[in-house]
């Protein structure tokens, strides 16, 4: 095959990936309609949207770049504290807080990426875990700034875009979070279907070969890591703004562990995994928490063990069948 012909083929496959599938449109319409369908559940919906954004962030590095992480909460916490502190001391504008949260977390991602990008999977797991623990300790020790174990209180948020006030039922919160999620999802979708995203997948599948064909592995991975960090920062900022409270819990280890479970449920590497996983995880958590509020950690642990031991294939098989049926429906409609 000649080089130009090959280039056209790659280009076409990237374009094909960017095309919208009917099922995707249905998914987002449903997400938008959710606050009308379940008006009483807006707070839960908001949590789902934030968790979905957080999971999207991990999916970017785990599913596409193959970087394992056990310390993603570091970026969630950084974003949350940055947005919270900004709202408390500087301006109550939510979008400014979102931008600052993303920038802070992205910067942290960029700074820590040289540490993460070396060594084996095991070293990566340890280092990401270590970084998250260090941040937790820092937030705990600098109580004057972060409120320490009491949390950062007294955050008052202004209206979104100067128009929409946050109400106590969480409707504005959900629509705000969902819009941010949607916009960032569009960006992620575009990035993963770009030559940059393609090179990330090449690195994931075979780093040696990728670097042999001219991909600057280190820089690409660092860029992906920083991008994912910024996404997690956005999730943290949303969390801080919509709950108007930041506690040490945002940096806790269980956040990172739960997040991995979310991705395991939904499946990594196709962007929707994190979103589907977030819905399933939160509903599951909600259901378990109603009948056994104190010991739901046990059930989460059990689900983790069962999933890894073999339940995952079953779930993913089911998702694939459903997706296949949707695909056929979509094709039928197009004809």
């Amino acid at each position: 095959m000649s080089a130009p012909a090959f280039e056209t083929r790659v280009r076409q496959s990237l374009y094909a990936g960017r095309r919208w599938h009917p099922a995707e449109i249905a998914f987002w319409l449903l997400a938008g309609a959710a606050c009308l369908l379940f008006p009483r559940q807006s707070l839960l919906l908001n949590e789902i949207a934030i968790l979905a954004l957080f999971a999207l962030s991990l999916d970017l590095i785990l599913g596409f770049a193959g970087i394992v992480s056990l310390g993603h909460a570091a970026f969630l916490g950084t974003g949350a504290y940055a947005a919270g502190l900004l709202a408390k001391h500087v301006t109550a504008d939510p979008l400014a807080g979102l931008g600052v949260g993303m920038a802070a977390a992205g910067l942290l991602g960029l700074v820590t990426s040289p540490l993460v990008l070396r060594g084996t999977d095991l070293t990566r797991l340890m280092i990401t875990l270590g970084v998250a623990l260090i941040l937790y300790e820092l937030a705990n020790s600098f109580g004057g700034l972060t409120g320490g174990a009491d949390g950062l209180q007294g955050i008052m948020m202004g209206p979104v875009l100067g128009l929409f006030d946050f109400d106590i039922f969480g409707r504005t919160a959900y629509l705000y979070s969902l819009s941010v999620l949607f916009v960032l999802f569009l960006v992620a979708r575009r990035v993963t279907n770009s030559p940059f995203g393609l090179s990330l997948r090449a690195i994931r599948d075979n780093p040696l070969r990728a670097s042999a064909s001219g991909v600057p592995n280190g820089k690409r991975l660092a860029a992906a890591y920083a991008l994912a960090a910024a996404y997690a920062g956005a999730a943290g900022a949303l969390l801080a703004q919509t709950t108007q409270f930041v506690s040490l819990d945002v940096l806790d280890f269980h956040r990172s562990a739960d997040l991995t479970l979310v991705l395991i449920i939904g499946g990594a590497g196709y962007l929707y995994g994190g979103l589907i996983g977030a819905v399933a995880f939160k509903l599951l958590q909600d259901a378990i928490a109603t009948f056994t509020p104190q010991y739901w950690m046990f059930w989460i642990g059990l689900f983790l063990v069962l999933f890894v031991l073999g339940g995952r294939e079953i779930i993913h098989g089911a998702i694939k069948t459903v997706a296949g049926r949707f695909a056929r429906l979509g094709k039928g409609a197009a004809r």
Binding site: V68, T120, L133, E137, T260, F298, G301, F307, V308
Partner: protein, 285 residues
């Protein structure tokens, strides 16, 4: 100052006993078992219960802790750990975190979330002074037991037939299997031994580290530091890593308490960056 150093050494000794089992299992099967702390917790609770409910003396409860943890270890290895060896590191990590969560919540349910205590026998209480250094009797006892264990482990690892088979399997499991070494039985035995040691360490550590249901999560990072810093190919590596960690942690908490656990995490990250294959890594071909 020397008293603090002494306390640090005692702490490091317990960490060594807790972590050495993990280092061997990690080296042997390349398996990341974050649930190692759960076995330690089991040992701790068995010791506490044996003393409180059955009225056993402290010394008798220690071997009981070892046996209980080893037994549970061997059963779990047979039943659920074995399918995990071939999976990716991330899967193994998630799996063992799941086990940790279950252990934490389950213990909370069974025992309550309060801190557990052990009443030490009179001859282990208090401290005496030697040349101006205050020496806690219990800490001396811990150092003696763990030192003895370390020496015998080192002896077993380097001088016995079991040890040489184990080292061969750690170096290259496939070749070892090809030479007729029963690697999987070897591994089950080692896993049981490692879990048992963790249980013993947990029982010894109740007095020094405290014991409540969040124990496996709280100390997970310590074991991991011992293993990643010490490397997985010897007993001496984890031993010195544990000493370093114990002394650094205790000294740090005494001298600059507000920084807290920060020091050891920073230490771990720095060590992992400068020596990604462990403090005493051997060059591998």
């Amino acid at each position: 100052m020397l008293t603090i150093l002494f306390d640090g050494i005692a702490y490091g000794m317990v960490l060594f006993v807790l972590g050495c089992g993990l280092s061997v299992t990690m080296g042997l099967m390349n398996f990341v078992n974050l649930a190692h702390g759960a076995f330690a917790m089991l040992g701790g609770y068995v010791a506490v219960l044996a003393m409180q409910r059955l009225g056993l003396p402290f010394l008798a409860s220690l071997p009981l802790a070892f046996l209980a943890a080893a037994l549970v270890g061997i059963v779990l290895e047979r039943l659920i750990y074995r399918p995990m060896y071939a999976k990716s590191h991330l899967d193994q990590v998630m799996f063992s975190i799941g086990l940790v969560f279950m252990a934490v919540a389950g213990t909370d349910w069974l025992m309550g979330s309060t801190q557990q205590f052990i009443r030490l026998p009179v001859w282990l209480q208090g401290r005496f002074e030697v040349a101006g250094i205050g020496i806690g009797r219990y800490r001396l006892f811990v150092i003696a037991i763990c030192g003895l264990l370390a020496v015998s482990l080192q002896w077993g690892f380097t001088r016995t037939r079991f040890g040489s088979r184990l080292r061969a399997a750690v170096d290259d499991a496939r070749v070892a299997r090809g030479l007729g070494i029963p690697v999987s039985r070897l591994f089950a035995l080692t896993f049981a031994l490692g879990s048992g040691l963790a249980g013993l360490g947990g029982a010894l550590g109740v007095e020094l580290m405290g014991l409540d249901p969040s124990f496996p999560l709280k100390f997970m990072i310590y074991f991991l530091i011992v293993v990643t810093v010490g490397g997985t190919s010897s007993i001496t590596g984890p031993f010195f890593a544990a000493m370093l960690l114990g002394v650094a942690d205790v000294v740090g908490k005494y001298l600059v308490p507000q920084v807290g656990a920060f020091i050891i995490y920073a230490l771990m990250v720095v060590l992992l960056i400068t020596r990604p294959h462990g403090l005493f890594a051997r060059a591998r071909a």
